[in-house]
Subunit: 541 residues, 2 copies
């Protein structure tokens, strides 16, 4: 029998322990005592039990079963509960509180594109909502089912590479394939997909495209929208299958309409995307420390605008994130720390930068040495390759900490935005000011996706929950962050997408006319509004 | 008083003489005698006189005049005739034949975005067609007015840079600005636009975006769709103004809908795009000769997929284009020519490659030397920097030859397509076979826009006109080329766009469902179908 905790835990579902470095930070920042560190909060250890039974008639269920077979349709409580939420902080809270008011009525695992066509036809005829489901790593309430209906889980069967084309350097892959299987397939053939979100291990290619994501090497390889060449999407009003060209001028492109569609237009089933040579031995690493955030940002901007080529991984941690990194890695108060302080890289001001460059050796050498030269002009101190390599070792697993932190009653979430260079420092300053207006709050910021014209800002915050009022407390705080971002010219999202969490701001952000155009496209492809309904992206229904 | 010839001549409208090298080729390939070289054909020297008067009522004309002022509305014959065609071979034939069956009823030069809004309102109310007009360099019948109406010429007033943002490395420019003025503005401030179509001197930023074009440095800087960050478009159903971010995930992007819209959705008035540092002194040049086309293509593909960075200009001429280049430059039969033949670079097989790399010096050095290494593996012989530099000197002006060639009764046109690497050689082979199935035809092919996953192919053909039946003869030949391209997995266009010329193939090429989606977007923004109507892009009306 499975519990709510079995659903919400991120990653491989093992229990992760908080390391001593982080414990020390918690003690210092939140004043937690040793006995508080033994207490736990909202574990969600009850066996899952839904109040709401499946609302779809047996007749229709039978039609579905005829299509996919009995083993591929689930209406048991756990399966439905397990498809009720993504991995947003609020989702985790809800599961910990054992609240699932609107589960899907059924979970279906289609075996083929044809299955999906038939299922959509039935759903369209009977006005049954359909939510496409990948890895469920959405952090924007993208996979919730406020109107019930079916969760169409693509990960069980639609998870294969359909074609690798080595000459063209492209791959055609089914949308339900998880990151690791995809990358392993490619690595074995000396290629790499180049897209590594922190959620890589538990997200799918289809989810990357549908939520318009970015991987940790996006500065070199681009966001997912820069990688997709064509796709197939099955909508309630027909199938859109675009052709694969390196580029073209045949009217406006249609595949971008599905990148960021978040399940509202149809089910993306196939994606043809660029791939790259896999040559990890060529990769060059560097890391630097800067005296303050402004210097680091200026160095980063200069690198991106200098025409030296681009690094693939490119990150800066702001002073507080740098400080916490030093503390949790027990670097604080070491001899090296003192040395850096003496040189003027003072804790509370200094900032870490990580760099990795992929490609041909001549390229990686040239780019890394150009970056060294440029950063030096901004007063950087080189820390060598190893800090970046160490960071890469835990590139996915650091997110596993979220669950044990929440066990301790600590609210912890992340928010991200994209901003043009000239607005970056003001946005950072003002969002930080807002974040820190809450007492006992750790607010760490980094830049991790960098462009010629601007960058993202990624905010991580930790603060003790307001026990008993966790949801309202969070919602109010969260709302203030979004509004501060928007007021300071940041986008609603750079790579997490919108889902239902950010939907209320879409009209204000995009403008009425723009949202009307989105709605018209929605209405064309999904005239009855069955695809991921309930205000996803701020479109109706 | 102005003639049809004053309208159709390309470029600066001066008379251009054919150089002796080209004359020799014409003699050799078409068997033209010296006396035939003195004859001229279809000069269009008559004074322009339209049969059709302006069909818009005086009342409405007065409403327009109230908005833009008398000086900005023209209904005289020459102004209307001058806005009847683009620069497609067939357009030039029509003008030479002094045939303008469907001129616009009036030409309007709006002074501001507000003027455009008001004009569209009147046109929408009165079902008057509106064709946005940039440099009129369309080679796809994109600016024709089969239903009359107004030509909205943006070049007179809407031709300014609105904002240069040096920190963000972006510029916001009005759509009617011509290439040279735009680039000069940027160069003076140490920036470059990076977009240099062969029509650069006589095309506008708005036209680049609306027709989804590519410049000669696109291999480094991307096509226009890779440069545009945001835009403003005034449609009959409201104004779409997108925000400027380096990237974002706020649902699917809306600005791509206008890139390639070819006037069918609305009037693009402002564009915010990336710009680059202007540092011509850093540019590195190289040129090579290969033993055959396949070697050259394989070398090119390897360069693009090697992770060495990218060159900006990257071209190969196929054997026939190489041969003609050698002949017209009087290189044929020189000592150097013989030497190359001895080395195995035989005329009729050998292929020229041009390379230029822009950016930081460390980058340009690294990329050019990597390219030298790679091409060597494919048997290249280096010709040094100067052939590429010489090619760049005439990068725009070679197109001026078209008019004097047509004066001699020579049909000359170009067609282009994009194709994945694995289909490139078969497509090239089969289209060439088709082209050469016409007797006395010179068929030159080059690759000029290169990607990791494929490239364009650009076909130039010359052949004596079938005098008296020039149009049908051309149409039939042209149709065969398109069909051969499509059958061989080429796109309908890589950068010229679709217009009305390629419209008949759109449904076959995109598929019914895809075209339906385009039509739905059209219907949303232009419900009465007033924007550039008459089958542009294969959408209705
Ligand atoms: C710890 C953690 C770290 C993260 N880090 C990153 C990061 O670095 N970069 C990043 O971009 N994101 C990140 N995310 C967010 C999330 O992982 C991405 O949005 C991811 O792309 C979602 O993929 P998924 O397969 O899990 O999709 P899901 O969560 O299952 O679905 C996401 C949305 O897409 C729709 N959808 C999914 N598949 C399809 C399909 N085939 N057709 C149509 N619609 C579909 C769903 O309906 C839903 O609206 C992170 C999330 C977590 C929990
Ligand atoms: C000799 C020659 C060489 C060429 N070489 C190239 C090349 O190398 N690369 C390339 O990409 N193209 C090339 N072209 C084609 C042409 O120059 C491009 O399509 C160019 O981008 C058109 O720009 P324009 O300002 O002349 O637009 P126009 O010809 O005036 O218009 C083109 C289309 O866009 C629409 N349009 C124009 N402005 C707007 C606006 N502001 N809002 C909405 N719709 C608008 C028009 O209605 C029309 O449908 C060449 C043409 C010639 C004659």
């Amino acid at each position: 029998m499975k519990t709510y905790r079995d659903i919400y835990k991120w990653g491989d579902k093992r229990e992760t322990k908080i390391d001593q470095g982080t414990i020390n930070v918690i003690k210092e920042k939140f004043g937690f005592t040793d006995s508080e560190l033994q207490q736990t909060h909202l574990l969600g250890n009850q066996i899952v039990k839904l109040d709401k039974t499946c609302q779809i008639s047996q007749n229709i269920i039978d039609q579905f079963i005829k299509i996919v077979g009995e083993e591929n349709l689930k209406t048991d409580d756990f399966s439905r509960a397990n498809h009720s939420y993504g991995k947003y902080y609020r989702d985790l809270l809800k599961l910990r509180k054992e609240e699932i008011p609107t589960p899907p009525d059924a979970v279906i695992y289609p075996k083929s594109d044809e299955d999906i066509e038939k299922i959509l036809e039935i759903c369209n005829k009977n006005q049954i909502s359909v939510t496409p489901i990948g890895g469920q790593s959405s952090v924007t309430r993208g996979v919730e089912t406020p109107l019930g209906g079916i969760s169409l889980d693509l990960t069980k069967h639609l998870n294969k590479v359909l074609e690798l084309n080595e000459i063209n350097s492209t791959v055609t892959v089914q949308s339900g394939m998880y990151g690791p299987a995809f990358e392993e397939y490619l690595n074995q053939r000396s290629f790499s997909c180049g897209h590594f979100p922190q959620s890589f291990e538990y997200s799918t290619v289809g989810g990357w495209v549908a939520a318009k994501g970015a991987g940790q090497a996006s500065t070199g390889y681009g966001k997912i929208e820069d990688m997709v060449l064509s796709l197939k999407a099955i909508t309630p009003n027909g199938t859109i299958h675009t052709k694969t060209y390196p580029a073209s001028a045949q009217g406006w492109d249609l595949h971008p309409v599905f990148i960021g569609s978040e399940g509202t237009l149809g089910v993306i089933t196939e994606i043809t995307m660029k791939i790259r040579n896999y040559r990890p031995n060529n990769t060059k690493y560097a890391s630097f420390i800067f005296k303050d955030f402004k210097f680091a940002v200026d160095a980063m901007r200069t690198v991106m605008q200098s025409g030296i080529g681009v690094p693939h991984l490119f990150r800066i941690s702001d002073p507080e994130e740098t400080e916490i990194a030093f503390k949790t890695k027990n670097f604080d108060h070491t001899f090296a720390d003192k040395f850096l302080n003496t040189l003027g890289y003072k804790s509370g001001h200094r900032c870490l930068m990580f760099v990795a460059v992929e490609g041909n050796k001549s390229y990686t050498n040239q780019v890394i040495s150009s970056i060294k030269k440029i950063t030096k002009r901004f007063g950087s101190f080189s820390l060598g390759a190893s800090p970046t390599k160490k960071w890469l070792e835990q590139r996915y697993s650091s997110a596993y900490l979220r669950d044990p932190l929440m066990d301790l009653g600590i609210m912890t979430d992340t928010l991200e935005t994209a901003v043009m260079w000239d607005n970056l420092i003001p946005l950072w300053t003002n969002v930080r000011k807002y974040l820190k207006s809450r007492e006992k709050t750790v607010a760490m910021v980094h830049i991790s996706h960098v462009y010629e014209n601007g960058a993202n800002l990624y905010f991580t915050f930790l603060s003790p929950m307001k026990k008993g009022d966790e949801l309202n407390d969070y919602d109010e705080y969260h709302k203030g962050i979004i509004e501060t971002i928007i007021t300071n010219n940041g986008s609603l999202s750079h790579h997490h997408g919108v889902g239902r969490t950010l939907a209320p701001w879409m009209e204000k952000e995009l403008g009425k006319e723009n949202l009307k155009l989105m709605q018209a496209i929605k209405n064309q492809l999904d005239p009855k509004g069955i695809m991921n309904p309930g205000n996803t992206l701020g479109i109706k229904p």
